[in-house]
């Protein structure tokens, strides 16, 4: 992936600065926190992900789940109060990644910085990784891609039919010291990207101070993505 020309160089200095990753340790392990208190369920990050990575119709690397039983409906919790929270979900870039373990051909693998990558030129399309992933974030290219426009909008090359794809944490942007597109585009700043290995960094501090949690901690995948629980409950 990634033989396209990045337009990041053409950004204004202010835009560049807005998307810069910032401080990190010597051996960064990239991670993200998603603040459920800030998320308003607008799907901006999910939509920019589709455009950034040129996802065909029917596929989503990043999606916004509603907590409760119905989409974008408040749920009743704690007594009679109605509340509404969202759970933006994409690849968790697990440290102990089941998908990496099961792939027969090592087409999904770890980079040194902890990112779980996908080699679409090697993948044989057995879909075992989709079975193994507890988060349901992997997409298979079932057939020829259908796109809403004839233009390839993405900043990365399209993936071939018959292979699996998923969130890369915008690895092509990281190479230019820019945060993933879901992070800079979030209108409420609900996403923070950074180095989990830097104990004083923003990500680690937020996880500590706000009692951040990982999804499905009980399955032992050690995700790089953490969530911050909502503090203020705003009963409707």
């Amino acid at each position: 992936m990634g033989d396209k020309v990045s337009p990041i160089a053409a950004l204004s200095p202010a835009s560049r600065a807005w998307g810069e990753i910032g401080e990190r340790s010597e051996h960064p392990r990239w991670g993200m926190v998603v603040d459920q208190e800030r998320c308003i369920g607008c799907w901006s990050c999910a939509v920019i992900c589709k455009s950034e990575n040129d996802l065909p119709l029917g596929m989503w690397w990043n999606r916004i789940l509603t907590e409760g039983d119905a989409l974008d409906q408040p749920a009743q919790a704690r007594g009679e109060a109605l509340e509404m929270h969202w759970l933006p979900l994409a690849c968790q870039h697990c440290e102990n990644a089941p998908c990496v373990k099961v792939c027969p051909v090592q087409a999904t693998y770890h980079r040194d910085d902890g990112l779980v990558m996908q080699d679409n030129d090697r993948c044989i399309g057995c879909r075992y990784c989709m079975i193994a992933c507890p988060y349901g974030v992997r997409n298979f290219n079932w057939g020829a891609p259908v796109r809403p426009t004839p233009y390839e909008t993405g900043m990365v090359a399209a993936r071939p039919v018959g292979t699996v794809e998923k969130c890369t944490l915008c690895v092509h942007r990281l190479a230019e010291d820019q945060v993933p597109s879901c992070v800079w585009s979030c209108p409420t700043g609900a996403r923070v990207f950074g180095d989990l290995n830097d104990p004083e960094g923003r990500v680690a501090t937020l996880i500590r101070d706000r009692e951040g949690f990982a999804l499905l901690e009980e399955v032992g995948t050690k995700p790089a993505v953490h969530y911050l629980p909502p503090r203020r409950r705003n009963p409707l």
């Binding site: 596929m59 051909v105 090592q106 057995c126 879909r127 057939g143």
Partner: protein
């Protein structure tokens, strides 16, 4: 039955006419051609032509893969255990069981191909072998086992081939000494074949049973359950094929053997039922999320399939085989074997469907389906998997390929094992 050694095959009794045979082979060839065409179409278009989607990403092909691995392991476990423990009565069906095991594993391996999104990259498996993947070990054992069982088939046929003067005997003689050596080799092979067959199906079970992401499968009983279901279906198929070959005059044995095999099948069914019960009781008792998958299986949309498995697949044949009078009737045993095989197929169907029906994170809108849904939503929390015509054509083609292999094999290879020395 008297003769101590049988010269080649027993004289063909009521062999079906050449016409019937030609018709049968013609039909198989048509089915194979249709399957190949369907596979070519799927290869050109992508797996979008199947009923599978991101929500239920494994379907018919994997199901038939498991089913045939089971048929194969079951057949070889019966044959080699009979040899190891000196069950003389099994002798007449040993060759058949070994042949059945060989053809079944070839079919299982064939079913892997259409399941892959990129079958042309199959060799990557050897180039980029990932030792932590259960799938890689399963494919390895399938290949090893295929070689072993083919060798075993040949070993059993060798003396007869030598007697016929066939070059396929690869230079063995028919003297007492060489025959004795062959017998020792067969016994030695049983020592290898039995663990190989058990490994084969256990590793297949671990493809599923080691996945913590699928609570419904994540269970240590998976491998034992796969072994018993292999025994039920493998035994059942060997009984059916033996009766067919006897009818065609290719094999001779007494009804006593049918009753004995039937009794054994009944025992296997009882053990299978016990394991199924133990598994689902353990899964549902704590009331944890895995229990929800069990509840869905018992009363949800796929419930009729589960109750079919219990009632028709396990209950009915067990009752038939437990009744002494019925067990002595080859037709009743054949019928019981047939429904038991079907029951195991449905058992595996239930495993796959229910294992996939429950996502760990069940929040709306669910998983992206993966293909353009037109004006509809591209998400689904549950998905009703129905195989498409393309999938069935490919399955039918592979099954026909197996039937063709078997038809040729029983015409070329002597099936009757000489009586004990």
């Amino acid at each position: 039955m008297s003769a101590t050694t049988m010269p080649a095959a027993p004289a063909a009794a009521p062999v079906p006419g050449r016409r019937a045979l030609a018709l049968w082979i013609g039909l198989l060839l048509i089915l194979i051609a249709a399957g190949v065409a369907a596979f070519a179409y799927q290869f050109a278009t992508g797996l979008v032509v199947t009923g599978m989607r991101n929500t239920v990403m494994w379907g018919n092909y994997i199901l038939f893969f498991m089913f045939f691995v089971g048929l194969s392991a079951g057949g070889l476990i019966v044959a080699s255990a009979g040899r190891l423990f000196g069950v003389k009565a099994f002798k007449p069906i040993t060759r058949l069981a070994v042949l059945e095991a060989t053809i079944a594993v070839v079919l299982a391996a064939t079913f892997i191909l259409p399941d892959l999104g990129r079958p042309e990259r199959l060799l990557n498996i050897f180039l980029f072998f990932n030792p932590t993947s259960p799938m890689i070990w399963d494919i390895t054992i399938v290949i090893v086992y295929m070689g072993l069982s083919a060798f075993y088939v040949w070993l059993y046929a060798r003396a007869d081939l030598a007697r016929r003067g066939s070059w396929l005997a690869l230079g063995t003689g028919t003297s007492e000494r060489t025959l004795a050596r062959e017998e020792r080799l067969k016994s030695a092979m049983a020592w290898v074949a039995l663990p190989a067959a058990i490994l084969l199906h256990s590793i297949t079970a671990w493809i599923f049973g080691l996945q913590i992401s699928r609570g419904f499968w994540y269970s240590s009983i998976m491998a034992p359950m796969f072994i018993t279901s292999a025994l039920v279906s493998g035994m059942g198929l060997v009984i059916l094929l033996a009766l067919v070959l006897r009818r065609l005059g290719r094999l001779r044995f007494e009804d006593d053997l049918v009753a004995m095999l039937g009794g054994l099948l009944g025992t296997f069914i009882a053990v299978e039922a016990f394991l199924v019960f133990a598994e689902y009781l353990t899964a549902s008792y704590p009331g944890a999320p895995e229990g929800a998958a069990v509840a869905r299986m018992l009363v949800g949309p796929y419930a009729p399939l589960f109750w079919f498995e219990v009632g028709v697949g396990l209950g009915l044949p067990f009752v038939v085989l437990a009744i002494h009078r019925l067990r002595r009737d080859p037709r009743a045993v054949a019928a019981a074997s047939g429904v038991a095989i079907l029951g195991i197929f449905v058992h595996r169907l239930n495993l796959v469907l229910n294992g996939l029906s429950y996502a760990n994170i069940q929040l709306p809108p669910g998983l992206p389906v993966g293909v353009d849904q037109g004006a509809g939503t591209s998400f689904a929390t549950s998905y009703w998997y129905v195989p498409t015509a393309v999938e069935w054509l490919i399955v039918a083609g592979i099954l026909a390929f197996g039937a063709l292999l078997f038809t040729i094999a029983v015409r070329v290879l002597p099936m009757q094992e000489p009586e004990a020395h």
